[in-house]
């Protein structure tokens, strides 16, 4: 059984201007441990697809199973619980709580999972360790660089040990060197077994994944496996 299974997934928006079919019968499986880049121009349906597999939205039609759970039948609270346990989000704009230090930001998903304070602290420090920012634990977002904020966001996404890391243009707000560092981090995490789905319009970013899925007009137009570039090699190249 694949981690993600979608069957004829549809999402139709009823707008004032009329019906818009954002996603049209998408059937896709993503295996545990894979690293998939979802690409396509704006309006291709890749964001709609991401919202659906991220359990932020419900499909108009079709089925979606995440880690064996039928998502389309869940209510808002059920979706929230699934997001909390099975999905870690990484956004383009980092989305840090500004008044809370890095540690507090990483603890956030565990608050909703109901962990006690000590457990949260321990596991948040562990997660910050995975992204190499233990020494910044008590810095507030304003005191961190963009790359560091994104690392904190990745630690936050990992802290509940989700089955899926879902990244939406994670390097879009970063300079290319920092972006490369973040991609290297993703590759490392993937080697440690984290399943990653990365949504981007940037072909350079897409080259880091093992599998490339292209969307256009709400449909999958291309789906193939590739040999990923190694972010560490790119770093070395750039250094020369």
């Amino acid at each position: 059984m694949a981690l993600i299974e979608t069957r004829d997934l549809r999402r139709v928006y009823d707008l004032d201007a009329g019906r818009v079919v954002a996603l049209d019968s998408v059937s896709l499986d993503i295996e545990q441990g894979d690293f998939v880049a979802v690409m396509g121009p704006s309006g291709s349906g890749k964001s709609t697809f991401m919202n659906l597999i991220g359990c932020l939205d419900r499909p108009t039609g079709g089925q979606y199973r995440l880690a064996g759970t039928a998502v389309e039948s869940l209510d808002a609270a059920g979706l929230a619980r699934l997001r909390n346990r099975e999905i870690g989000f990484v956004f383009q704009q980092f989305n840090m709580l500004p008044r809370v230090d890095a540690l507090g930001n990483v603890e956030l998903p565990m608050i909703y999972a109901g962990f006690d304070r000590r457990t949260r602290r321990e596991r948040a420090l562990q997660a910050l360790g995975r992204v190499g920012l233990v020494d910044r634990a008590h810095h507030r977002p304003m005191q961190l660089s963009g790359g560091q904020q994104q690392r904190v966001a990745i630690a936050r996404a990992l802290v509940n040990s989700p089955s899926l890391l879902l990244a939406d243009e994670p390097t879009g707000a970063l300079d290319s060197r920092t972006a490369n560092e973040i991609m290297a981090l993703f590759q490392e995490l993937n080697r440690e077994g984290v399943t990653i789905v990365l949504v981007t319009h940037d072909a350079e970013v897409g080259r880091h994944a093992h599998r490339l899925v292209r969307f256009r007009d709400g449909r999958v137009i291309d789906d193939h496996r590739q040999t990923p570039v190694n972010a560490r090699d790119l770093e070395a190249e750039a250094a020369q």
């Binding site: 932020l56 929230a80 989305n95 709580l97 956030l108």
Partner: protein, 410 residues
């Protein structure tokens, strides 16, 4: 999300906009302070009235002589000396529900003790006086029945008189002279304080009824058995009205007043007068509390306003919280707790301010102190309720946000 987490995060959100939060709270602060101060002031006024009613004695009516016509001129009420202590005895005997009928005469007198003297009111009374006015001695004893019957030359002093004539000395068994008659002091009355009309009720002396009539007051009581007025005390408040009717009947009969002829006495229900005063004090305090409650309402609207602003400002935060697993009800309770925290802190500050204001007013007006625990509990409860009530709409708006929309919002 746990309560402690929620309250901690509410505090951090409130502190993040400290000035704004403070200004928002100000409405509740003023509202709660106003409620507490107004309730305190109102109940202070009512206490004062109640105290004065109690000092008069409960369930009391007074029979006074009526007007009298002399050569075509109608003299005012009390001009006649138509009442006698036999009337009082008849009332005591024949009217249902009467527990005491206290006839008395009164006048002014200069009381002399050794080198000092003091002008005061003098009352000639019988034993019913003490139960009718619910008034006993503080030291010494009251008259015994024989003293009253014989008209002995003994006197009871009010607190004010005792203090002015004897200072720290014990007046019991000392002698005072009234109109050159030496009276033996047998007791000092318990303090009564001010009457409802601002008189010092302790500036008074008492002698037996006959003594008063014969030896000191005299002038208006030419007829041997006549008295000034009669206090009539009833067992129950409900006895008063029917009692007054039967008394009127009885006295008309005794005074041989027939048909259309005008009564030569009048009867007033003192308890009713007192109750009216008490009721109007009550109304006043309710009115004050209502006005204060309006300011609490306004404070609540202020909280709603600022919570709506806060929800709009923090849309992305809400989106993020939803994305990492907050359920809509977590968001709802987060914002509700924030609003409630805001209003409760405001309520706490308001209590301080209100208690202070009430204390100040009590000091200035010379009223008994009066902040009730009930008013404080009510104010705290009410301010928390205001927070929940006015926080609910903004919180619900936050909880209903679509996570995708919320995350996209700039």
């Amino acid at each position: 999300m746990r309560w402690i987490e929620a309250i901690r995060s509410a505090f951090s959100a409130i502190m993040a906009n400290a000035l704004r939060s403070l200004l928002t709270m100000l409405g509740i602060v003023i509202g709660v302070a106003a409620v507490i101060a107004m309730v305190a002031i109102g109940s202070g006024a009512r206490n004062l009235v109640d105290q004065q009613i109690r000092s008069l004695g409960a369930n009391l009516a007074i029979v006074t002589p009526g007007n009298v016509t002399q050569g075509g001129a109608r003299l005012g009420a009390g001009a006649a000396s138509s009442l006698t202590d036999e009337d009082a005895q008849a009332i005591r005997r024949e009217i249902d529900g009467v527990v005491a009928a206290a006839p008395f005469v009164q006048g002014g007198a200069q009381v002399v003790a050794g080198g000092s003297n003091w002008g005061t009111r003098i009352y000639g009374i019988d034993l019913d006086w003490f139960s009718a006015r619910e008034w006993d001695v503080a030291t010494g004893r009251t008259f015994d029945p024989e003293e009253v019957r014989r008209g002995d030359i003994v006197i009871l002093l009010g607190q004010t008189v005792a203090r002015n004539l004897f200072a720290d000395e014990d007046p019991i068994d000392q002698f005072v002279r009234v109109r050159n008659v030496p009276f033996r002091v047998i007791g000092v009355m318990a303090p009564k304080g001010q009457s409802a009309f601002g008189q010092d009720q302790d500036d008074v002396v008492f002698v037996p009824l006959d003594t008063g009539r014969r030896r000191v007051i005299g002038r208006n009581y030419a007829k041997d058995r006549s008295v000034g007025s009669i206090f009539v005390k009833f067992a129950n408040e409900s006895d008063i009205e029917p009692g007054i009717e039967s008394m009127t009947e009885l006295l008309r009969q005794r005074h041989r007043i027939i048909g259309e002829q005008e009564d030569d006495f009048s009867i007033r229900n003192l308890t009713e007068i007192a109750n009216t005063a008490s009721a109007s004090a009550n109304t006043l305090s309710m009115l004050l509390a209502a006005v204060a409650a309006v300011s609490l309402l306004v404070g609540g609207i202020g909280i709603m306003n600022i919570m709506l602003v806060s929800v709009t400002e923090r849309t992305r935060e809400i989106g993020l919280r939803l994305a990492v697993g907050a359920r809509p009800r977590d968001i709802l309770s987060q914002f509700l707790i924030e609003a409630t925290t805001l209003s409760t802190i405001g309520g706490a500050l308001g209590i301080g301010l209100g208690v202070g204001a009430a204390y100040l007013v009590a000091q200035l007006a010379g009223w008994p102190s009066l902040v009730s625990t009930n008013a404080i509990l009510m104010a705290v409860g009410f301010s928390a309720l205001v927070g929940i009530f006015f926080g609910f709409y903004p919180a619900q708006r936050a909880a209903k946000l679509d996570p995708i929309e919320a995350l996209r919002r700039e």
